[in-house]
Point group: C2
Chain length 713, copies 2
């Protein structure tokens, strides 16, 4: 998808080679024009004049009015140098401007190599937009689009995409800015031809993809109108020594290692100890008590037996067939022990100890990684709590065992967040397939884990906390493969500038601009969680909710007040309240009191018996035009909380047995009994919360965001 036929790569190559041979980091305007022409990016007619008379004759040929600009490899900011004049509409003006520009340039930089003055057809009209490309430290080549002027400068109303972009992606990018409506024509203006505008984005994205040494490109302004888009000014910055792309493993290589790591035949625990309070004691207890069925080999030179298992002085002494070695020894001993584990053929080394890059010991970490690479061992960590995989009853951690099996795999870069995952999961009985700490990510990172969980039948949703990505492209590629099959939720910490600064001091990771992350994660189909609580909540709830079959959401509520707040939440979360067709409206009305409100929300009013809830909910489930239900419950004596919960669980269960599998969420308002009622509903496949009208709708919104990204709607 990177390139199209019709591009003149040789022409670009020639320009770039010359710039390289002259050690230049920028292109002149004629060079930029050559690149644009080679990739079919429309530009105004223009030519280079080397005398005032030549400028005049070119201006007449191109058509007045014209713009004149200094051409010098030594003058990058032409306006600052007094090197630009616009709106020259007569031969006299052109002639005078030529001389002024050259004089100004000489005054600005007496040593500048002045090659002449570019005379350019003056474009205008339509809408000024900006199209650019840059090289992001995390994602590599990205393209940016925005409207020109203050909208970009003050409101930062821009949209990013990973390059290269397809025509379809470029159109979505254009529609992504807040002021996109402007392009449809406002104040009587004509609509911009967005296909042709998207074509310019695509061509620029191909150019920077084909020639990675173009580190930045600005087409600014581009005049976009109904008759096409013309880039009036171009700027290219070059970097002939781009950073090495990160090393990558193939999908087969990743899965070969990950399958052994998550489903090990046997595990060695290096530093396993009988001494309570030691990490090596906690780890072996948790592995054994957690119910892991494979062999467990304590490695400890000072003990014959640890926690009832025969111990071995070194890895070399242990039996063969060990897939995983868990390290519970100080950082300084890790490299040597890893060397042994590597010789023994383990697939994964779980590096619990801290004292590596996070405390400034980058070299020690690099040394350990080098050992691992030499032996084909994948590293998890260092500086982690360990990992859990419930299908194998595996709790390889110094925390406590967890084995409420379920579909959610959770990962965290930070140990503190990992502990929150554990506590929250236990408190809410969240069904979990895995909890994994990635810590310093010396080796295994989120794209490895995505690749494994994406094909893991025990996992049907993935929720990740991360502060940075080592390789944004690999992550996007992995996410794109997984998203059509199961939701991927990401909490990206360090979103704001204050947050990013904290990330810097914590991990040394350079947090990229958050807008780049935001746009590109969305482009990859990832559901971004706004905070920790949402990460946990989405992780818990998304596997419980069936996938909706369409956009028609109906609210059925016993409390009108909840109906209003639920409607607010529907809009906030990008959902659509169904326009109820007259026949369905009539059917609802048949079940509710005359002063109740049909329409949407369906307000059954507060004093109704269980049967009213039951009939209306059943109707919503059975009508094929309705795709999702939001329930608002109001605690009354007539329909107590658990009666409501049981009837909803029954009705939904019956519908599901009959093959009707729609997402149902509920907000319960009432006295404290609504807490048990919500738990009952959750356990029966209805995502329910007490005391909040926002959370159930937010979770449904997350499910919809995923379903749309997965192409299921």
């Amino acid at each position: 998808m990177a390139t199209e036929t019709g591009y003149d790569r040789d022409a670009v190559r020639a320009v770039l080679d010359r710039a390289r041979s002259e050690s230049r980091a920028a292109l002149t305007a004629p060079e930029g024009k050559a690149l644009a022409e080679a990739y079919g990016i429309p530009i105004p007619g223009e030519a280079l004049a080397t005398s005032a008379d030549e400028a005049v004759s070119l201006a007449v040929e191109l058509g007045l009015p014209v713009v004149a600009k200094i051409v010098s490899p030594d003058i990058l900011h032409k306006t600052d140098a007094g090197g630009v004049e616009v709106g020259l509409s007569s031969a006299e003006e052109v002639k005078a401007a030529y001389q002024r520009i050259v004089d100004n340039a000489r005054a600005y930089n007496p040593g500048a190599d002045i090659q002449g003055v570019q005379v350019q057809q003056m474009v205008g009209g339509g809408q000024e937009v900006l199209i650019g490309a840059t090289t992001d430290p995390t994602f590599g080549k990205v393209v940016v689009f925005g409207l020109g002027g203050i909208l970009v400068e003050v409101l930062k109303d821009v949209a990013f995409r990973l390059a290269p972009v397809s025509a379809e992606e470029a159109r979505a990018q254009i529609g992504d800015i807040k002021a996109a409506e402007v392009l449809k024509g406002v104040r009587g203006g004509e609509a911009v031809d967005t296909d042709r505008l998207a074509d310019v984005i695509t061509r620029l994205s191909d150019l920077v993809t084909d020639f990675p040494e173009i580190s930045e490109a600005d087409l600014n302004p581009v005049f976009a109108s109904a008759s096409g888009s013309v880039a009036a000014d171009l700027r290219f910055v070059l970097d002939f020594e781009p950073p090495e792309p990160p090393a990558r493993f193939t999908r087969e290589e990743i899965l070969a290692s990950m399958n052994r790591i998550f489903k090990p035949r046997s595990i060695a625990i290096i530093g396993a100890s009988n001494e309570q309070g030691k990490i090596g004691n906690s780890v072996i207890r948790n592995v054994v008590d957690g119910g892991y069925a494979g062999q467990v080999y304590p490695i400890n030179p000072k003990a014959d037996e640890v926690y009832g298992r025969a111990a071995y002085p070194t890895m070399a002494d242990a039996p063969d067939g060990i897939d995983v070695a868990v390290f519970a020894i100080p950082a300084k001993f890790v490299a040597a022990a890893l060397e042994e584990a590597g010789r023994k053929g383990v697939a994964g080394a779980i590096l619990i100890p801290s004292g590596f890059a996070e405390t400034g010991e980058q070299e020690l970490q690099d040394e350990v990684l080098a050992v691992a690479r030499r032996h084909g061992v994948r590293l998890l960590g260092p500086n982690i709590y360990g990992y859990y995989y419930t299908p194998e009853h595996l709790s390889a951690t110094f925390c406590t065992p967890y084995d409420v099996a379920g579909g959610t795999a959770l990962t965290s870069q930070s140990g503190g967040i990992g502990m929150a995952i554990l506590g929250y999961s236990r408190s809410t009985s969240t069904g979990v397939s895995a909890i994994v700490g990635v810590g310093n990510k010396a080796d295994i990172d989120e794209d490895d884990l995505l690749t494994f969980f994406g094909q893991d039948d025990n996992t049907n949703a993935i929720a990740m906390h991360l502060e940075d990505l080592k390789d944004g492209r690999a992550f996007v590629q992995a996410a794109r493969e997984v998203v059509p099959k199961k939701p991927v939720v990401v909490l990206k910490a360090g979103r704001t500038s204050a947050g990013a600064r904290a990330a810097g001091s914590h991990t040394g990771a350079l947090a990229g601009d958050d807008k780049v992350y935001d746009d590109i994660l969305r482009q990859a189909g990832v559901v971004r969680a706004p905070g920790l609580n949402e990460l946990l909540e989405y992780g818990r709830a998304l596997p419980v909710l069936p996938t909706p079959g369409g956009e028609n959401v109906v609210i059925i509520t016993g409390a009108g007040g909840s109906g209003v707040l639920l409607s607010d939440a529907v809009v906030d979360n990008g959902l659509s309240l169904m326009e109820i067709p007259p026949d369905l409206d009539e059917s609802f009305r048949a079940f509710i009191p005359p002063f109740g409100a049909a329409g949407n929300p369906v307000d059954i009013t507060g004093g109704e018996p269980p049967s009213t809830y039951e009939k209306t909910i059943r109707l919503g489930l059975e009508d094929p035009r309705v795709h999702a239900l939001i329930l608002g419950y109001w605690h009354t004596i007539v329909t107590p909380p658990m009666v409501f919960a049981e009837l909803v669980a029954d009705v939904v269960g019956q519908a599901r047995a009959a093959g009707i599998d729609k997402p149902v969420v509920a907000s319960l308002s009432g006295d404290t009994e609504v807490e048990a009622a919500s738990a009952h509903l959750f356990a029966h496949g209805v995502v329910a919360y007490p005391y909040t009208t926002e959370k159930p709708v937010q979770v449904l919104g997350a499910k919809y965001r995923w379903a749309r990204a997965a192409g299921l709607l």
Copy 2:
């Protein structure tokens, strides 16, 4: 504050009187100009030409270029009529334009009364802005400010204020738009003189305040620059029959009634019943079992005694000195019973029954209100669960008693939301002074309650759920009086268009544009809760947190990962991470491991003992440059959750005993023990939550928003 000397009110009066006498709903351009001149709103030089020759001489006099516009009371949309020409820069152009404009106008509306063509000095340059005024159904006269062009039209980047605005308020309004930076000068442009721009807003706001019959005014565009602001076009719409302003009670009248309603000597319960399951049975049980110490008189013609209290057949038969009558009888009997209660001199009638305006029975509700007004009785409801006031152990409701006394007064328009308030409060042991249902608000509404709770020593925070305001101005006035003393939190439901539609079908209330509510509530110093859960949480937490003494917030965290997320939340909630001075940084560093990060967040790292938390937190409390602390806790064996909670409670308690009263909030990451630890902290004045980094910071942010609005920072 409404008017300034120097306004020529007589001139405005004359113009409006003429318009009224001619039954016109709009002013002509010269009339609009007369209004602007009378109120000192700068406009371009202009004059009326009645012939092409006169137009030319005027143009020369005013200075070319000029704009020419048709003047006709019958042509409101001049552009549509071909009645505007701009940029006329020669006598010939002016002459030709005059004729075209008049011809176009005749073609557009052959019957139009054409008075001539207005010749206007052409203004431009600077920044195009819009200043307007309108009559909001909830708030009355409001003024709007925004940048011109697509920023207003597409991005709706405008700010509203209640008229009249002071110069200071107008400056704040200008700064309130997202693109405000544009006015400081971008792309090398000069900064706009915002004082002079604010002056135009103030003058327009005075004009519409002094002359309520001006229902709408547009100054659009206004050209704002460094040298002043000129309104290039004006439009005024008139309404000589504005709606009646709502009836209001004086503060003394409100308090006289409210004090008797919340602190009654005795209560009558009309419809009190021995029959379980009846509302009249629930109410008397709750009043009696709740511990109310005054006399309780059941009114029931069919019983001698109800729930152990002597019953009376009618109110007339009951003893004197009754302050409150609670109605637990069907709607149709309320008016007659209220007549009796009124004669008995009750101060308040608590109308629990439904079946009034919310079911379409507006007339019945109006009738009941008329009875109440005749007897000087204030009505609460109808269509409510009742009300609680814990200082009097009063639970006048059909729900269940509640008596965890504390400082928060909560009110709700919807019964369902009231039940959520009750359940949430009970579940979290929220200390409550009052819970009040306002239902249909036939009489008592939020401004009455604000007035009472504002001066109630038992209340130190007020949290209100509302779907509409009957009298937005009265609410703002009450809020402005209360906010300097205690926080007022509002959940305004029906925020979005879908939500507003639901509000319409629920209460028949016309929900105003949410942006108007949002800006004006903020102007009144109200803290708006984004959702139900936040309303409850702010209500619970704000009275617990001391008021900060300044903007310097410091994060102290054991989990670096939490530090990053807490920093994100700090920025999201408009707080400022303190730039730690070098000496304080050094002091922090003395307590933390060398690889920990000082700066802000202060990252003490995960493996630290209780003493490290203790020393750093004590330092943050004792250093007078620090104004608020956010703690991030990470569950470890070395510092278990309850150990952390107890030490923080101790350190904070000692500081408070020593007169250091700073807000401290905490996020606890860990296994389920962090839940009990959070509850312990909350009970000891530290606002703490498990499994979330957002909520503690959000609550601190709400406290800061209030403190700023109250003028305490």
